[in-house]
Each structure stands twice: as structure tokens, then as C-alpha cells.
């Protein structure tokens, strides 16, 4: 479980490096550590140092302990950088039917939103949306991929990286 999360983190870190390559300022970081020269308060800072997503068990929308830690860190970061509004995107894996998964993704987004609100984020800053099973990030035919797709992702609406 922990190993998989690191792999995701690593993949995301690589993607971010690609995104900023043109600026010739790829952050010096290790997958399991904090980025050293990510500019604080940026979208990159949020994704790399806070973590933008939480994961769910099959057909569940309960935020687990690890997810609660991530969301609490998101709430802290959002209180420091109050210029941001956010959209919480809820997703489901492909092993369900389409309509139900749309509602299940919405339920997950709502659960993440509610936890952020409980941690002090003003509800008016949060919008939610569900993509059901329509936007997978991992496409293998394996539970290791499906578990990465059962997620709620916090997206900064007005971020500059």
C-alpha cells in the first residue's frame, strides 16, 4: 500500500518536472521527501509537498486515516494561501456501472469536501464535481491501478505553477 502511494507520488513528480522544464527549474526533490526549491504557495508546492489526492476503498466513500492527514494538511495550506478557491473532483474505478459511479464519485468528493470544511476551510471556497469512471489516471487491468483511480483530487482553481 505504502509502496504504491510512493510510486504515484514519483510519477506525479516527474510530470511536474516536465511541466516546468521549459523554465529550466525542475525542482530538486526525492519521491519520498519534500521538494527543496519549489516556490511556496504555488500549485506545484500544493501537489508535491501537501498532496492533492486521497484514496478510497472499493465502493466506499469513507476518508481513511491517511486521507484525513492529507486533507488536514491541505486545509492548513489553504488557510495560509487564502487566495485560492478549489474544486474537489471525485472519481471511481472502472469496475462499476456508469451512472452509479457518477454518484459514487460525487459522494467521495463530498466526503473530502466535508472533511476540509471540518478542518476550517470555508465552504464557499469549495466546489465539487464527479467524473465517475470517466477519467482514470491508471489504466492497467489490475487492482493496483483501480485503487489509484478511486480518488478525490483537490484542484486549485486559480493556481499558477
Amino acid at each position: 500500500m505504502f509502496k504504491r502511494e510512493n510510486a504515484v507520488q514519483g510519477a506525479r513528480w516527474i510530470a511536474i518536472c516536465f511541466a516546468v522544464l521549459f523554465a529550466a527549474a525542475c525542482a530538486q526533490t526525492k519521491p519520498d521527501g519534500l521538494a527543496t526549491n519549489v516556490k511556496p504557495g504555488t500549485g506545484q508546492d500544493f501537489v508535491v509537498n501537501v498532496g492533492d489526492r486521497v484514496f478510497f476503498e472499493e465502493d466506499q466513500s469513507v476518508v481513511n486515516a491517511q486521507g484525513q492527514t492529507t486533507l488536514a494538511n491541505q486545509a492548513k495550506w489553504l488557510s495560509r494561501y487564502s487566495q485560492y478557491t478549489i474544486t474537489v473532483e471525485g472519481h471511481a474505478d472502472e469496475r462499476g456501472t456508469r451512472q452509479y459511479n457518477i454518484a459514487l464519485g460525487a459522494r467521495r468528493a463530498q466526503a473530502a469536501r466535508d472533511y476540509l470544511v471540518s478542518q476550517g476551510v470555508n465552504a464557499s471556497r469549495i466546489k465539487t464535481i464527479s467524473y465517475g469512471k470517466e477519467r482514470p489516471v491508471a489504466v492497467c487491468n489490475d487492482s493496483s491501478c483501480w485503487s489509484q483511480n478511486r480518488r478525490a483530487v483537490t484542484v486549485l482553481n486559480n493556481a499558477t505553477n
Binding site: 472502472e94 456508469r98 477519467r135
Partner: protein
Amino acid sequence: MRGILKKLSVLADRKSVGLAVLMALATVIAPRSASALVEIDITQGNIEPLPIALPSFSADGGDSKLAADMTSVIAGDLKRSGLFNPLDPASFIQKNMSVNSTPRFGDWRQISAQALVTGTVIKQADGRLRAEFRLWDVFAQEQMLGQQFYTTPENWRRLAHIISDAIYERLTGEKGYFDTRIVFVDETGAKDKRVKRLALMDQDGANVRYLTRGEDLVLTPRFSPTSQEITYMSYGGADPSVYLLNIETGQREIVGNFPGMTFAPRFSPDGQSVVMSLQQGGNANIFKMDLRSRQTTRLTNSAAIDTSPSFSPDAGQIVFESDRGGTQQLYVMNAGGGEAKRISFGPGRYSTPVWSPRGDLIAFTKQHQGRFMIGVMRPDGKGERILTEGYHNEGPAWSPNGRVLVFFRDTPGANGGPQVWTVDLTGYNEQRVETPAFASDPSWSPLID
């Protein structure tokens, strides 16, 4: 099958087929026999397909390719239904059939044909096509049906489907479903970056055209049972919402002004309202909107996911799925809402229910032990039958005569994707409908008028 005699009067009253759209006119060519021997008993499970001979329609010196193409569309329709076995033309003894002469029945008996179709299609001086066909009972040595049509040349495929429907109806006693279309979601691009477009095709996969361009994610299109309209879900607006689209005019509008995401739409049997889910926080509830008055009515109010509503054909009841009992199961309630009765009790999860246009069955998706199945049960929940089972089968929809189910079948992994399939109500005769790319969420049109 009983009731061939009754069918005769139905056919005599048959209205001009597609008069408005197609400008086709069906005329009865000759009186039909009341003593036909050929019939298909379609109440059985595994049906022995009826051997039928379809020699190429004659062109009388005109466009023989068109005549051959029309004949092969008819043969294709009948073959795909699983109820007919079009015989190999190489085996035919009598050649160069004319629609105007009586066949040499002995020649057709010898190759075991039970039914024979002769026809002609001619382009007239006024530019229109005139097509004529006769259906013969080889053993009774009598004509069972004869009709004549006029249409514009670009409608030749529809004309072939209309003839297929006439043959199907005469021999089975049920309405056909060949002159119909299927709306679906065309899927292209990598699995994590899918582009989805609404698309329309004839039921046999021909004449694909696209209704949206792919900028917006679109899902679950459903045909109106009464008009050339579809309702579907799109991510194009501020919230993902249910839309209406007129496929003739291209006119598009959002359905209702709901405070949040709406999804899983379906028309009422009269086409005058749409039922759908509205997401409210972590719960989804079912609402109905009257398309004329714009009035919305809440039909469920539960702390659960209530979705995929589908009306009974008499509009009196609605079947839907809900996880109010812990997992997805099927429930039936009165069309006005109120108390719902759970009808699915087998092992596994049940979803995407859709009521047969005949009223006697509800089709659904079922998940159990990692398998996805398409099944049917009676509206009281009894008599469950699984029609197909595999890695992923989802989202059945009925042919307008309630005989065939269309659904999509997905394959696993990064290169996997959905394809459209049909299966007979009996569970036999699975057929893939060829599409240009991956395709999902099929929904069948009514017979085109």
C-alpha cells in the same frame, strides 16, 4: 406461432410506410394466402433458424448493383436476427427470378428453402426508386405477402430495412426492428484521455454520423420513444447536466434548472417528460421534469444513491437502482414517487434497469464476483435469467419490439475499450454491431415513421 390470420388484417391496414420522411408508399400487390405453412415459433429458447432464399432483386436492365446491395442488406438483417438462415445463392437452382412470375417451387423445395423472397428495384424516369417484393411460402406454394414502395435513391438502405421488417413481421407475428437507429457514445483516444462523441447509426451499423464534436464529455444518450430527440448527460456547462438534443435540427437545450449535477436521464413512454437523478451532496435522488410545463417533481428522497430510473411502458411505474439497502439493488415505485419495493434479491449488485417496451421484463446489469452480466427478470423480481456474462457487460437497452437487447462489452487494460453487442431475449445469438471506434452506451430508437 399462432395468429397468422390475424396478421393478415394488420398488414392490410398497414399505413403508408414513412410517408412523411421517406416518401415511400406500401401497396399490397396481391391477396395473400390464408393457409400458409411457413411460420416461426419464437417462444422457444434456441430457435432453428428458418431457411429462406433471397435471390438478388432484379433491376430490369437498371442498376443491378443497387438491387444486389438491397438484397444483401435484407439478408443481413434477417440473418442477424438469429431467426432466419438466408441460403447460399450458389445453391439456387432457379436463376434470374422475376417478381412478376410464380416461382418453380420444386426448385426451392429441393434446396430446403421454406420461404422465398423475390423482388425488383427500378429507378424511374422521375428519379425515384420503385421497389417491389413478394414473400412466398415454398411448401404451400403460395404468396404470403406482396408490397410495393417508392422512395428517393438515397433512402435505399431504409427501404431494404422496411422490407426486412415486413418479412419478419409476416413470418414471426411480431413487429420488426430493422428500420431503426441506435444512438451511442463514440470513444477515441487513450484510455486516460478518452474523447467521447454522441453518434448515431442504423441498427446494422451503417450510416454513422456524429452529433457532437468531442469538446465536452458526453454520456448515456437515450432515444425519445416518440420523436427524433435524445436526452443525454454532458459536462459542457457549469455543472454536468442532462440535455435534450433534436437530431434533425441540431437544437440543444439543458433540461431544467437544477441546483447541482443531473444525470442518468430517460424519457417517459409518451416522450413528454424526462426522469433523471439530481446529485444533492452525497446523495442522488430521482426527479421528473415535464418538458411542456417545465415543472419538476421529486420522486425519491433518501440518504442513498437513487439512479437509472426507467418507466414501465404504461407509464404507471418506475424501476430504478438504489444502494439504500447497502448495495445497488433494483426497486419499483409508482410513477408519482412514494414507497418503493425492492425486486432484486440474488447474490451480487444490480443496476441500470430498463423496462421492456412489452412490459413483461426488466433488463439490468448485474455484478457478482468480479463478473459483469446482462440479465432480465419480471417486474415482480421473479424469473431472473442471465443472458450474457463476462469481464464487463453493461447498460442494456431494448429493441422497440422488446425482442433484442443492445449493450456494451468492455475489455480490460490500457488498450481495452467498449464495443456494442446485441443478444436475443432468449440469451442466444450474440452479435457485435461494428462501429468505427470504441463505442458505449447504446440506445435503440423506435421504428422510424
